[in-house]
Subunit: 349 residues, 2 copies
DNA sequence: CTGTTAGCGCATTCAG
DNA sequence: CTGAATGCGCTAACAG
């Protein structure tokens, strides 16, 4: 407990400190801003004492008001439930610290309305920039921010009609690598399982890459859309997968399921377990993009995204823009890493 | 895009709006604060027009500076990697919205230093209250906040020497229920696996409850400390568990592992898988507190915490304090729910 | 019903 | 080297 902190209610202000130190506010301000060497040793000591005694902390709000910059940046996340988001977040946080920013984290919980509300809120807090990983915000919503001089960098997905910096996985390469692996392991038929993808660029790119790659490789396969938010549709999709598996079995063809991300993979896995029991992995091969914590436990092959780096890079881009860099929008596509586990190994199925 | 938003750089201020609407700032302020009915229809319309035209957004910072309250509350999380945290967070967010707060989320990534830094940062941003789920912050650190008039509510764990509102799981009851279940299923020996628990109250309580309950029930058992941050120590602990399993096997006694939380359970599960192969669950029964997403996939029995409610309740408590409620510190212990899955069923092992 | 005035806590000229 | 004065955007008295 700070000595005799009698001022139990109001926090000390710069004025209090100045009075306590027997000087003017300016000197305190100078001290705070590290304009050291410009202050006599004597004065500096008095200031330090006063600050300690009063347990003074400069008010960032007031500071921001004056300077016009509050070191706040917004981070809009579509879904913290997805480990991907948390991992990216860690990179963002680390980088923020390095640059002296404070991230204002907004979790939209997959609700488009919330996304819009948060974006507005962020703008009222005058964040200096925004990192967006959103589900459905429209170009216009972000555009008003951007045209207000607030830099925006997109993570994982781009947004139609909006040209800004963006950083994410090199989906095309990742999908191709995955399929090549599956092909090498001798699977005859691939099923790509993905959430409704028309409005989410990364899903769209993955799906396209899937079709392109199997086409190029001459592997047979199809896309199945799995809507995790609609039980009825989901059930149908899963049933469809079951039939497909059955057919291929009969014809003695080896089939592999390729989930577009971890949530999809989990849903599929749960279904397969329900259908085939605890040993479901002996019946069907499953792999996915995103290396979630249970992947190792399930022995599931995945493509690991460089999530941490993605977060860092996003902040770097943002920082440059905040500092006034003016250049054409950049797109940073980082490579994924194929993590082969038993689920897709030739001998296993 | 807002009409002729020429002011591409500076955001419009209340003064701009006043000028545009041909009135004074006060009226604008009144309009913003919903003091409607106090404004003539004509004036109100002009204000609305001006606001729309200028795409004006009140500056929360300035607002907070004046009012002395910025509607910001801090949320300090020890570890977002733990699904528990994310779930609590969702409750917090929902409640914040209901009350009109904006949560400033700080993720300490299990680093005590970061926790302290964040707490300081929060105080410089003049948050109106703080919700803390921390690993190692000391009583003093929080005390300076609390004595500065900033309400604090603790989540999941209490802190020695600090008396504040706290909300979490009823650990004692949860552990007892779990052990009763294990006992009913005929396990002869229980091993409680927990991270170093001396400094984390919830772990301590769980461990005590474990010993008390097996004592009362006359079940044999022991506690094993598993330090997830120290590979060497962890390996030893896991080896210890292995021996224990071996011994009990020889004597034909049925043994069950009870992990104190999800991260511990995952670590144990991975080890068992490595040791006994994919069918490890046929060799050893494992259950834990925290119902993570992979628990269902692994068919693992758990105690599900009312995470969402915990988050909500925390905000409610905080809100009351912020509104000035003065009363003795409260402790809100919510009941867990035993989720029985195959991992601990009598016939399974 | 409406506008004027005076700060909130701080950083920044500009004079000593 | 130091301090007094000014204003950031906004709200809250206080007058009209």
């Amino acid at each position: 407990m700070p000595k005799d902190n009698f001022s139990t209610e109001r926090r000390a202000t710069i004025t209090d400190v100045a009075r306590e130190a027997g000087t003017g506010k300016t000197s305190i301000s100078r001290y705070l801003n590290g304009e050291t060497g410009v202050l006599s040793t004597d004065l500096r000591e008095r200031i330090e004492e006063a600050i300690a005694k009063l347990d003074y902390r400069p008010n960032q709000m007031a500071r921001g008001l004056k300077r016009g910059r509050n070191r706040l940046i917004g981070m809009l996340l579509a879904d913290l439930t997805n480990p991907y988001s948390v991992e990216v977040l860690q990179g963002v946080e680390a980088a923020c610290h390095a640059f002296g920013y404070m991230p204002l984290i907004c979790h939209a919980a997959n609700e488009v309305d919330l996304e819009r509300r948060y974006l507005q809120l962020l703008s009222t807090y005058r964040v200096e920039g925004v990192i967006v990983n959103a589900l459905g915000v429209k170009e216009e919503t972000l555009e008003t921010l951007a045209s207000g001089g607030v830099p925006v960098v997109l993570v994982d997905r781009s947004i139609d009609g909006l040209v800004t910096d963006m950083v994410g996985l090199d989906n095309t390469a990742a999908v191709a690598a995955a399929i090549r692996h599956l092909d090498e392991q001798g699977f005859d038929e691939l099923v790509f399982v993905v959430q409704p993808f028309t409005h989410v660029s990364s899903r769209r790119v993955r799906e396209t890459a899937f079709r392109d790659t199997i086409g190029a490789l001459g592997v047979s396969g199809a896309t199945v859309v799995l809507d995790l938010d609609d039980d009825k549709l989901a059930a149908e999709a899963l049933a469809g997968i079951d039939t497909r598996i059955g057919e291929n079995r009969q014809r003695n063809r080896r089939i592999a399921l390729f989930a577009a991300n971890a949530p999809v993979a989990l849903r599929v896995a749960l279904h397969m377990k329900e259908r085939h029991g605890a040993a479901w992995q002996r019946h069907v091969a499953l792999m996915c993009i995103d290396d979630s914590e249970w992947a190792e436990l399930a022995g599931m092959t995945t493509v690991r995204q460089p999530t941490y780096t993605i977060g860092e890079r996003a902040v770097e881009f943002l920082h440059e823009r905040i500092e006034g860099a003016v250049m054409a929008p950049r797109e940073c596509l980082l490579p994924g890493e194929l993590v082969v586990r038993t689920s897709t190994l030739a001998g296993n199925i």
